[in-house]
Every structure is written in C-alpha cells, then in structure tokens.
Symmetry: C2
Subunit: 300 residues, 2 copies
C-alpha cells in the first residue's frame, strides 16, 4: 500500500541530504575552486525548504519501472536545482521583487542582487553538470536524454518562456487559452520534465512515455490551478509567502475568470484526467496517483 506522506517525506529528506552533499566547494569545483560566496548563496536558495515535489515525481515515475529511489535521486536533484534557480531569479527586484521565500529572506535580500543572479546561474549550470556524472545513470545515452529533457523543459519553450509570457500577460489581456499555455510552460514544463525523466531512467517505451506525459501535463495543470486557488484562499502563514498577490496585481488566473467554484470544478476534472492517463499501469503507479490527488487537496 503506497503511503504518500511517508514516501514524500522520505524523498524530501533524501533531496535535502543530496543537495547538501552536492552543493559544497569540492563537488562544485571546476578549473578553479568554487567561490565560497556563490556556494553559500546557492545553498541558501535551495536547502531547508520546499516540498521537493519535482524530485518526488521523478522518483514515482521511475518506480513504475521498479527503479530504486536512490537511482532516481540525482535526476531529481537536477530538476530541483532548476526549480530553485528559477525562484531565486523570480524573486529579484527586476522580476517579482519578493523579500520572503519559505518564510526566510530571499537570496538577494540575504546577499545582494548580483550574488543572487550568479547563484541562480550557477544552480542552473550545475544541474547539467550533475546530469553529466556517471552516478546519475550508467548509460551515457540515458544521461544525454535527461540533459535534453531538462533543458527543453526549462528553456524558451518551457519554464523560462512561460515566465516571459507571464510578465507580458500582466501588461495586456490574456485569453483563457493564453493563460493555459503560459501556465503549461511556466509550471507545467518542469513537472512534465520530472515525470518524463523518471520514465527515461526507467527505460520506458514510447507508449508508456506518452501515457506518462499525458499524466504529467494534467498533473501540472492541477498543480497550477491549486496554486491559483490557494493564492485566494490561504493565509500567508500557511503558504510561507505573500498571498492575494494575483488579485492585487490584477493578474488573470483561471480563478479570476471562472470564479472559485468554477476553478475547483476544473481542478477535480483535471485530477481525474491525470488518473485516467495512468490506467494501464498497475499499483506501481500509485505514487503518481497519490501526488495528483495531493495537488488538489494541498493546503499550502
């Protein structure tokens, strides 16, 4: 019987330990010794926090193919480093200008803007260095597929492109369809990459990869929808960050266009869509099923 809270807590602990091991001077050294200040800022921006949902998705997708959690961890760390870099850059004054993240000062507040830019750049860069290490997967062909998957998920047609569209959308009117595309890229692309990377590690065939992609795309929409709903309904204390920001900024979300009840209904349908995509998989996909349900029920 899959237990979500046990597995997700074990995954979060493994991610915390794995990031703490990797983000040290010796591991990050290159032609020269890693600069202490940038290492410290990278740690500040990635340790002690977050639900580590993306590494959990890598782990759960890999579990379908009987891959042990440890074997899915390095790829999970790489995705998490991309997620953390994006938060560091998003929080900058030139972007969302946030002072707090997970209840602590953001990296540019704890250090300065230049250090935050560099720490983000370094986390992004070392995500790929980590994927290059033989410990990530014995087969170089698998490692390079992970690189491609993560880069396309994080790039101009993925996460970064979604952030760009989000900024542009704040200025002009977005249609519902455009909100959907923006969100599919901004949040969805990395969730999709996480699930697919787990599947790639597991040696999924084309049919399984396609089913898991459909799961991931629905799960990503559910995650974002829940986020938009929580921005309206949750307290800053529960979230560890400011809430009500979307409405304050006059930002269009599916909650602002469909209303809270309408958005909740869409959320339920979307979770069901994610579950349906897993129908050909047996109990080994219970992890992914639990995470899709968690996305809809989470309180922070």
């Amino acid at each position: 019987m899959y237990d979500f809270s046990t597995d997700s807590a074990a995954c979060a602990r493994a991610v915390e330990a794995g990031l703490s091991d990797y983000l040290t001077g010796p591991r990050l050294s290159g032609p020269g010794p890693a600069a202490d200040r940038v290492v410290a800022a990278m740690r500040h921006g990635s340790l002690e926090g977050g639900k580590r949902l993306r590494p959990l998705l890598v782990r759960q997708a890999a579990a379908i193919f009987s891959v042990a959690p440890e074997a899915a961890l390095p790829a999970g760390l790489a995705v998490e480093m991309i997620h953390c870099y994006s938060l560091i850059h998003d929080d900058l004054p030139a972007m969302d200008d946030d002072d707090l993240r997970r209840g602590r000062p953001t990296v540019h507040k704890a250090y300065d803007d230049a250090t935050a830019i560099l720490a983000g750049d370094a986390l992004l860069t070392h995500a790929f260095a980590l994927l290059g290490e033989p410990t990530t997967h014995a087969d170089p062909a698998v490692r390079i597929r992970l690189v491609t998957e993560l880069a396309l998920g994080a790039g101009a047609g993925g996460m970064v492109g979604g952030q760009m569209r989000d900024i542009e959308g704040e200025k002009g009117g977005f249609s519902d369809g455009e909100i959907g595309i923006m969100q599919a890229m901004k949040t969805g692309a990395l969730i999709r990459a996480s699930v697919r990377m787990g599947a790639i590690i597991g040696g999924a065939d084309a049919r399984a990869l396609s089913a898991l992609t459909a799961y991931a795309e629905a799960a990503g929409r559910a995650f974002q929808l829940a986020d938009d709903i929580l921005d309206v309904t949750a307290t800053p204390e529960a979230m560890g960050k400011a809430t009500g920001k979307d409405a304050e900024a006059g930002k269009q979300t599916l909650v602002s266009t469909l209303g809270l009840d309408g958005a909740r209904k869409v959320l339920d349908n979307t979770v069901n869509e994610a579950l349906l995509a897993l129908r050909t998989f047996g109990p080994k996909a219970d992890g992914l099923r639990a995470t899709a349900r968690f996305f809809a029920s989470r309180k922070n």
Copy 2:
C-alpha cells in the same frame, strides 16, 4: 599554410549563421512554443557581434585531429551561447551596469531587466539543449562529456565563480595570486573548456588533452592580460565599449600591479608558454598557435 584572418572570419560567419539558425522559435520550442520576446532578446544578445574566439578555439583544437570545421560548430555555438549569456547578465544594473555592448544597447537597455535576466537564463539553458542534439556528435558518450566540460567551465568553479570573486575583489584587496585565480576562472575557464571540447570531439587521448589544457590555460591568461592592457591603452571607439573602467573603479589588474611594460613582458612570456605546450603537435596546431599570437597583438 594556416591563415588566421581567413579562418577566423570563416568561423565568425559560420557562428553567426549557426546562431541565427538555432535561435528561432521552432528550434527553441519545448513543451510549448518559445516565447517571442525572449527569443528576440536572445538574438539581440548574441547575433551581429563579437570575434567568436571561443568557437574558433573549439574549431582549431578539433582541427588537430582532422575534424572538419562543420563538425566542431555545434559545440562552438554552445560555448558562444554561454559567453553571450554571461555578457547579458554582467551588463545588468545589479552587476556592471553597462548601457553599450559592441556599440549597441545592451539587452536590458533594448528590452528591460527582467527580459535580460530571462534571455540570459534561456541562452544558458539552450547551450545544453544544443549539446544534447545528435547533430552535435553521433556518440552520446561524447555529447555528455561536452556537457560536463562546459558546465564545469561555466559554473561555480569556473566562469560564474570567477565573476563572484571579481565582485568580491572590487571591495577588498586582492593579492596578485588571487587576481590570477579570479581571472583564470572568469575568462580562462571558458577558453579552457573551448579547447578541451574541440579535443574531446577529436577523440584526443589523455596526453594530448593534457597538452591542450596547458595551452588553453596559458592562452586564457594571455587573453585576459591583453584585455587589461587594452583597457588602459585602447579607445572606446576601437573597443566598442567603455575603456579605462578598471582604473576608474580602482580595480586591481596585473597592469595596475606590474605597470604597462611589466604586463607586456608577462604577456609575451605567456604566449610563449602556450606555444610550448603545442610542441608535440605538427602544423595542424597552427590555428591554435596563431590564436595565441593574436591574443597578444589584438587592437580591440
């Protein structure tokens, strides 16, 4: 007979065309369509400019192993994208705050700070996406080695670490040795990665790779030293950017500690060191030899 100006001009043209082909919506698409604004800013920050010295080094190092220029191009484009992203982020108000680059408005001036941050992030990310493509090299094991080489050269123990040290050094006193480490990382690491990536594409054995690494490290020092000298001696018109900035900022360089004549003497010695590292290679290394000499004689 190797002709530097012919080969470097041919390389620059190939890089310009290669970047222009790659940096388009269809090539950069991922789970979603690439965001137009970020693609435009990526192009602004990387097309029509620069001497493309890093791709030239990839090409020249690969030429030692009889690799055709076209076969070394994709890796060269990836290094150049890393170089261009670093310039975009360096120019930001939070970093060097430069308005002009190659005689044109910097990306944050032509667009805005948020777009410049995202365009830099996207160029960095897609450098690795490009290395992942089978057209970069048929063997996935070679492609993943290129990823590792580039990531470590660009990361916290390479270029980004060097930028961090540079910012820290502006505040406090640097010893000559610390200046050397900073420069070896800030500029040298990517030059080193370029040469090594060419060697890796060429299937260099350990001994050849080691000799070429020694060449690259000396060439990188020569490049930086020439840059520091030009900051003192060249006009802004010749450089296409502000000069005299180091002295104005009270920044320590080897010119400020050794004087102009002393720095020129060290530069000559460093070029000879680079040439000496190539002694076991025949005329196929003439390209790298010419580039080392060019570093010492360039006027901008």
